[in-house]
Amino acid sequence: MRYEAPATTREAATLMARAKGSAFLLAGGTDLLVRMKIGLVEPDLIVDIKHIPAMQAIKRSAAGFRIGAGVPAVAMGENAALKKAWPGVVEAANLIGSDQIQSRCTIVGNLCNASPAADTVPAMVAAGAKVAIVGPRGRRTVAVEKVVTGPGVTSLKKGEIVEAITLPRRPPKSGDAYLRFIPRTEMDIAVVGAAVSLTLGAKGVVKQARVTLGAVAPTVVLVPAAAKAIVGTKLEKDALAELAAACAAACSPIDDMRGTIEFRTEVAGVLARRAAKIAYQRAGGK
């Protein structure tokens, strides 16, 4: 096994592209080292990206926010501007694991690990996040929902590396929220997750919305019907009921040790409803 810590994204991409055998990127390592420990993977090459300056910072620009692939979740919580603009994405990132995990885990790692239960992905999809990818054939940018294609599977090609996630600039009177269900208060994998991002128009009426669900299908589900249910409303009771019903209808979960189909379907609607209310308040709605 080899350990490399390149100084540029290009070098990293080249190392990954040329690697023989199994090569893995190391950011926070909170998934990779666990899989190594239980013998699921035996890397021949580990490329540590934490020495690549471009990947270590959260940058704010006219276009919005750019979060480097090496940025630990805890740093997102410490960034006041990011927290103010995208509280839902930040709370999703900060829900991952313990303080110990927070110091290491990254949203790019959370994305590329491609778990259906990833906490940050529903929030990022709801937020309309974009992914900056660097590969042997140069750069490309894709919508975040295009990256994960199935449990443990991504659309990234050999040698392609995610350099950063970008979150768009926030229009006024906007808010987002992420809620997940876990049996304990901490340390668990989401049994169900729901994210809502919305923007209000005149008189606190929802003008635009995106609703997503996690852990209820092989990949994160964007639920346009649920968004439609609340657009043009002030989240009145029946609008929320319609939102919940739309979410339940969009679920195609599995029975496993963490939850049943019945449970996930029921709770998806409940969480979406609660998340919508929080997002609405954050947008300044009353």
Partner: protein, 168 residues
């Protein structure tokens, strides 16, 4: 397999070791440097018994590669006391009987130190969530939370004392 040569700083002192590229910081600390204060309870980041602080951030040393701490600052339970003076957390853990078997204690002390370093006046809820990554099976956490709360008071006293000294 060729080892990685690592130069780092542990509890303020320079340290060097050679380890396989895939070896965790926890194994390097325990098996190469003789620092067995950090324990392996799970090896998967779920119990916190291996907690250490790297460059000011609380981590599970079982989820960090030894190779990663090249040029970094590592703090472990062995460095918590200041010479022959125990850290207030250590004193209060003993006073409040905050340990029974004691296997999780080093991890709790380190996690609690990371908390008090950034927030010397935590509420009970803040203490409980800051320690949620550390499992204890003996105490039901009651006396641990009380000990951290008591230690926080001590730390605040010391901070005030320091401030007064500076003013003079």
């Amino acid at each position: 397999m060729s080892g990685v040569h690592v130069s780092t700083t542990i509890n303020g002192d320079p340290a060097e070791f050679v380890c396989p590229p895939g070896e965790t910081l926890l194994d390097a600390l325990r098996n190469r440097l003789g620092l067995t204060g950090a324990k392996e309870g799970c090896g998967t980041g779920d119990c916190g018994a291996c907690s250490v602080i790297v460059d000011g951030r609380l981590v599970c040393s079982c989820l960090v590669l030894g190779a990663e701490v090249e040029g970094r600052e590592v703090n472990t339970v062995e460095g918590l006391a200041n010479g022959d003076t125990l850290h207030p957390l250590q004193t209060k853990f003993i006073e409040h009987a905050a340990l029974q078997c004691g296997i999780c204690t080093p991890g709790f002390l380190i996690a609690a130190k990371a908390l008090l370093d950034r927030n010397p006046d935590p509420s009970e809820v803040e203490i409980r969530y800051a320690l949620a990554g550390n499992l204890c099976r003996c105490t039901g956490y009651d006396k641990i939370v009380r000990a951290v709360d008591a230690a926080a008071k001590e730390v605040r006293k010391e901070v005030r004392k320091e401030a007064r000294k500076k003013r003079r």
